[in-house]
Symmetry: C2
Subunit: 254 residues, 2 copies
Amino acid sequence: MAAPNPTACLLVIGNEVLSGRTRDANIQFLATGLGNLGIPLREVRVIPDVHQTIIDTVNEVRKKFDYVFTTGGIGPTHDDITSECVAAAFGVPWEPHPVAWPRMEASYKPGDFNAARQRMATMPRGAALIENSISVAPGFQMENVYVMAGVPRVMQSMFEWLAPRLQGGTKIEMRVVHAIGLPEGVIADGLAAIQARYPDLDIGSYPFYRATGNGVALVAKGPDVAAAERAVAEITQLIVSLGRTPIQGEPPDV
Amino acid sequence: MAAPNPTACLLVIGNEVLSGRTRDANIQFLATGLGNLGIPLREVRVIPDVHQTIIDTVNEVRKKFDYVFTTGGIGPTHDDITSECVAAAFGVPWEPHPVAWPRMEASYKPGDFNAARQRMATMPRGAALIENSISVAPGFQMENVYVMAGVPRVMQSMFEWLAPRLQGGTKIEMRVVHAIGLPEGVIADGLAAIQARYPDLDIGSYPFYRATGNGVALVAKGPDVAAAERAVAEITQLIVSLGRTPIQGEPPDV
């Protein structure tokens, strides 16, 4: 039996998602990227830029999950408080980072490395940098907590740098078959029987509504790709037995 | 002084968001809709289809927030377990609903109201229905917990039905001004001073990167619209004093 996969939690920090001003663009990217590393994302929390909320949430989830990733709140403005809150969560000083500070100072014209920008070079004592190719301001790691930018392309660059440095597990494989015009209520009983035969897989059913026809996506997911393929083969036969035509992979209009 | 606004938490229940298969489409809709009702969304959690996780999370957040909304997990398949978990969270039986059951039974052809579909008419004892115009299966309310579908157009229909029935507060108003080519690090100090003069507003700074030019969106948010407008006027003057051209409202390429 293989070792269980490590688990991850994502904290999306920022009022802009909670107010509806911004549609989150980071959850799906990280969910997919972490799944590919065999580090399934088990929870996401979107929380506001409030000191005690950030501190308490970081301390709660870093004990519950193997990895914690945060996005947002590490810029130069007054509402960027993630970094000082992570220092408080770990009970360490928030101070100039010995590598980030001189590097950022050198990257600005004399006088332009102002108090606001100095905040981006101020980190919890002991932080290890997370590099990126977009911005001069790095993210950082404290134990199992990885603090990244909220701007999607900066976050994505940080995650690309980080990915080969994370200790993953067996990749979570996913196989899918679609059926147009098949109500979930018709396939549910047969699907539950297949799930019962594959307890190590997650078998999911996701209805969709499209101009070209309503239907359902049936997904088998788990670290054992052969089992996922066998389960999808059984689901495919089930669809045929119910008088519908299965569509392997993504349907053409996804 | 007006009464404080009631608070809301959203639970997005479902493996498909955590695996990256689906990009969530409900957070922004509900964040905006609740903000318009003066019920600011204070936290979102995305959690998997796991019994104990759902039960524990529902019980934690229904004590912390005035309103809890859930999306997902009320369909007919084996992975739709939200309804029975909410019953367990409230410590009440999960049983045929006296209104939903006969209504759904009547809507199917004889024999088609099978065990899977009966699950959608089975609810915590005492549940009040949440109606919608898309699907015959309703959502339901237990005290301050509102259980809705995960399929966006069904959820939206349920929320439209629900909105006039919720006890809201003063609408949260938002005003925004943009500045192209203005780094956050340059405006941060002046912005912090404006935030200090408007402690009842949330003033936020959100950088954007677009083909037509990078810049920053500066947002003032709160129940006092006159204060939000004064703050944005001050931010506008700050932008001008820094040698940039402010753009009121959304810039043309949003």
